[in-house]
Symmetry: C2
Subunit: 321 residues, 2 copies
């Protein structure tokens, strides 16, 4: 959560003159998004989010992310809609950085999702996967199985700072995942970070999906596994079968998982746990002293990884077969 | 700029049930305010700011600040209006902290004020001073002349880290200010921090004054001197007489400065420069390594202090007499 870049009011006014959003009435930096600087813009034509892309996001990927949001919006999935400038582009430049304006969405993130929220998520996730099928651009997933070992190795000598034995455990798990990772599952556009932070609700209804800056092409069931980890465990990292089943049933109704996907779920869920364990692990070892951002605890995902190692098949998640 | 405290959606919902602001549609942490955690709330009854008061603000002072905002709003000065809860109180508790909801104001801060902005400020400052006369509660100014030496002394051995010779210079200036500080000027409620950040504009019109968390009782002309320093110098800390005169003329039209106040302006302006030099100096020596907040440069206020030392009287500021 951050505003990394300050925007001068005169620069902002000049930038906004390229857009049809009317008179600017307010601009507030918002403490949301770890990667970028975000501002809430209130203008006479409505409310918007202005994002300045900081160095952790590759500029070459921005047309993919913005194009995907336009594509999904056009397909009826509520997500931030990029606003094009007078030159017809969704991407501009402000304060020396690539910048975009998207529509502001009402809604609140749910900190403790219940079954109804998991069901609502499952429906939207399936809709996202179905709508993504007609999106032509491609972006590979740098944080999939091939990316994990290069991410881990520079930090492996320090793994035991996080938990005793963690280094050996991750090394062995990477061997397992690299040898068993399924290569031929149905694939397409995945969100890849659809945590409760990134799903807005009004009551029990989803009002929008946000933060598409990890979206890429990968196995659709891997995206399901990421959601299973992020939504269907309690605060002590214990699996909640009723929530898992609510997610599964709602997803499966719109896009039934095939038998290969069902069989692969335990290894996909282990991989999904590994991916967030590793990024949290690296972040935890890189917190500057005194920083205001508290890193997320990597051990939460260690516990989930251990749990999935005990699962023999989809039935153990409580899914109907 | 910060959100120091995370608010759980369930805690927030329970808290808001005590207020008549309708259905909550959005809540975003905003990167504004150094002292407190601030959230933008969009609800069916309108837009609001939720503030959680962190430890740098004394809880005992909150009724003064909130009462003052209510008083000034009632007097027609646009500032955030505290929203009272069902128990009739403007002060509640959330996430273990004192918390208040105030109305959201449209408007933008001006980074490079022009003469018209200085004139608009002068008018509002005088209105604030006039409206404050009927506000009964009192709060002394902990950051006035008696507070400066105790603030400086623990850090005096490190002053030369900021600028060579700064320690001796501040010590001599404190001697001067303590011996010459005027004790009998017209006093009342002052904002005490009316920097461009805290004045919202729509075009050249002030749309609101914000951030009353340094407000206190002190010499009214000292508040004028704080504004002179904050608004009427260029980015290289050179005094701009046309801006000073615009501020002075607009203020003086509504609340004429008397001869004692005019004579005291140079020493008040030196004191006002000292106050911000010292807090910036202490902040600069206390930045945690790696912190996301960049401290403001104390040397800007050193340059202003030096300038005011060359001023013999109000005429040297370019004010009509």
């Amino acid at each position: 959560m951050a505003v990394y870049t300050e925007v001068d009011d005169e620069e902002l006014t000049a930038f906004l003159a390229n857009y049809d959003i009317g008179e600017l009435l307010s601009c507030k930096g918002i403490a949301e998004g770890v990667e970028n600087s975000n501002f809430y813009l209130h203008a006479s034509a409505g409310s918007f989010i202005l994002t300045l892309y900081e160095k952790r996001v590759s500029e070459a990927d921005l047309p993919f992310f913005l194009g995907l949001m336009e594509h999904l919006s056009a397909a009826g999935l509520v997500c931030p809609q990029p606003v094009r400038n007078h030159a017809g582009s969704a991407l501009g430049r402000l304060a020396g950085r690539p910048a975009a304006i998207v529509t502001f969405l009402n809604g609140l993130s749910i900190h403790h999702p219940e079954e109804a929220h998991c069901a609502a998520l499952g429906e939207r996730l399936a809709q996202l996967h179905l709508a993504g099928a007609s999106f032509a651009p491609r972006r590979s997933n740098a944080l999939s199985v091939d990316g994990w070992r290069p991410l881990f190795e520079p930090y492996s000598p320090r793994a035991d700072e996080i938990a005793p034995g963690l280094g050996d455990m991750i090394a062995a798990e990477l061997d397992y995942l690299e040898s068993r990772w399924p290569g031929d599952l149905p694939s397409g556009v995945i969100h890849a970070d659809l945590f409760p932070d990134n799903v807005l609700f009004l009551g029990e209804k989803v009002s929008g999906l946000i933060d598409f800056y990890f979206a890429c092409n990968d196995a659709l069931a891997y995206d399901f596994a990421i959601c299973l980890n992020a939504w269907c465990f309690d605060s002590t990292a214990r699996y909640q079968p009723a929530k898992g089943r609510a997610l599964f049933d709602a997803y499966n109704r719109l896009r039934p998982l095939d038998s290969a996907e069902l069989s692969a779920l335990p290894v996909l869920a282990r991989g999904a746990a590994m991916r967030f364990l590793l990024t949290r692990f690296v972040d935890a070892l890189n917190v500057p002293p005194g920083a205001l951002v508290r890193p997320k605890d990597p051990r939460e995902y260690l516990a989930k990884l251990v749990f999935h190692g005990t699962v023999a098949g989809a039935r153990d998640y409580g899914f109907a077969e």
